[in-house]
Symmetry: C2
Subunit: 268 residues, 2 copies
């Protein structure tokens, strides 16, 4: 095996065995050089191997420390009596309680012509004037850090159809939640599907979320329908080291849900 992979393997094992606990400093590059009798390049490559897998954080001038994972679980199924759109808010409130940091959000509204995949998804005809979407972008921060970015797409006949729909065009929070607003406008949400996946962040994403190397993004797409009319498509981006999604089926007891909330996919 290549020398740098040997070193990486060694270090990874020692981390897994708890020799280097989370938060603990790894040996410095100089120390590793003499330990393994190899050049700095090789040592650095080994460390990069750990870094790109999200196992360590390296700070210039300071050293490398073992990363710790405490992702928070985020309810994605509709709980009884809880409006759909309150979920993220409730979640943010929980974070606030857990971390003692004030959550903030920044909203931005854009109107765009829907083309290609998006038009097909929303069942809009781009040749009509109706082939537009209102995009509400909501960036949620915990402290100075971008916590999640949510992009919601609404067909513009909803926003333009009634005077109340104009609220969708305002870059302001909708206190009742958009689900209720849509219901008031004659589009009660009757069904929805979610697609969940993960990808690595682009350079921009990394800077945007302030996430270290080796941190994937959890991507959550949701399409909501009223009858058979698509009324909203939502794409949510979240750093996977701080977010997990929770779904359930059947009548869950509070204890079971609480237990699910404590699950950490990084375990085992």
């Amino acid at each position: 095996m290549a020398r740098h992979l040997e070193i990486a393997h060694d270090l990874m094992e020692e981390i897994d065995e708890g020799r280097y606990a989370p938060g603990t400093a790894l040996p410095t590059e100089d120390q590793l050089m003499s330990t393994y009798g190899t050049s700095r390049n090789t040592v650095r490559r080994a460390l990069r191997e750990l870094s790109s897998r999200g196992r360590i954080d390296t700070r210039q001038g300071s050293g490398s420390t073992v990363r710790e994972y405490r992702p928070t679980v985020h309810l994605a199924s509709s709980a009884k009596g809880e409006p759909d759109d309150e979920r993220y808010t409730r979640y943010v409130e929980r974070i606030k309680h857990e971390q003692g940091v004030e959550p903030t959000q920044r909203l931005r509204v854009i109107v765009e012509a829907a083309t290609g995949r998006l038009a097909r998804l929303m069942e809009l005809d781009p040749s009509h004037t109706a082939g537009f979407v209102v995009i509400r972008r909501c960036d949620r921060y915990i402290g100075p850090r971008l916590w999640q970015r949510q992009l919601s797409y609404y067909p513009d006949f909803i926003a333009k159809g009634e005077s109340k729909g104009a609220a969708l065009m305002q870059p302001e929070d909708i206190p009742r939640g958009t689900r209720e607003l849509l219901a008031d406008l004659g589009y009660p949400q009757t069904k929805s599907w979610d697609v969940v996946g993960a990808k690595m962040p682009s350079l921009k994403d990394s800077a945007l979320f302030g996430i270290g190397p080796g941190t994937p993004l959890l991507v959550h797409d949701r399409m909501a329908y009223s009858g058979n009319t698509p009324i909203r498509f939502t794409k949510t981006l979240m750093p996977a080291d701080r977010h997990q999604l929770l779904y359930f089926e059947g009548d869950m007891t509070p204890e079971a849900l609480r237990k699910a909330t404590d699950v950490n996919i990084y375990d085992h």
Copy 2:
């Protein structure tokens, strides 16, 4: 900005603009060296930046090509009239149809004492003889490639309780599906929760799944209950570049579900 990040940024932009289409070769290291008037190390660093984000594949002797993503969507909610455990199988069948490759699977059964988190999760008392779990590990392959790994944990009082339960201890496929088997044993599944997240693979995981750098793993944990008794915990690991999970609420039409199946989180 650092020189290698400039180059990486440039290349990423050109990829996004379609200048280098998926599957297309990027310029060679030599070409990039003269284009940017920089050393090979710097060029390689830029390329590694793309590689660790899963944007390119680099092959020795050949060059770097733009990676393409066609993840398949995998139904995670219970569809009506479809037993829970058939889902993955059905999914594999679909892959087989799409890709024309025979899926295979390898099963392994282990019995282990449940400790710590797992015992708490399964509500088992480690001091009792009942504090054991039967672990069924199922590796599913598409061709020679590991497609997903599934670890199912059953409390051993289920496997030992009745003679039929012994089927759980056999490293063989259970044709009816384990959900039906559990129902026969007196533990019909009444509710469940799922936690979905993503993490970077360890060195072992990378080798196991044969995934290139910059490919996260999608992790899917599911706890199933019969009444308030935990009857199964399942952890599924899947490379995120080939898997997405689909959930839904309400009565979905086949067309809407088909549309969801076509969603690709790498779009937009």
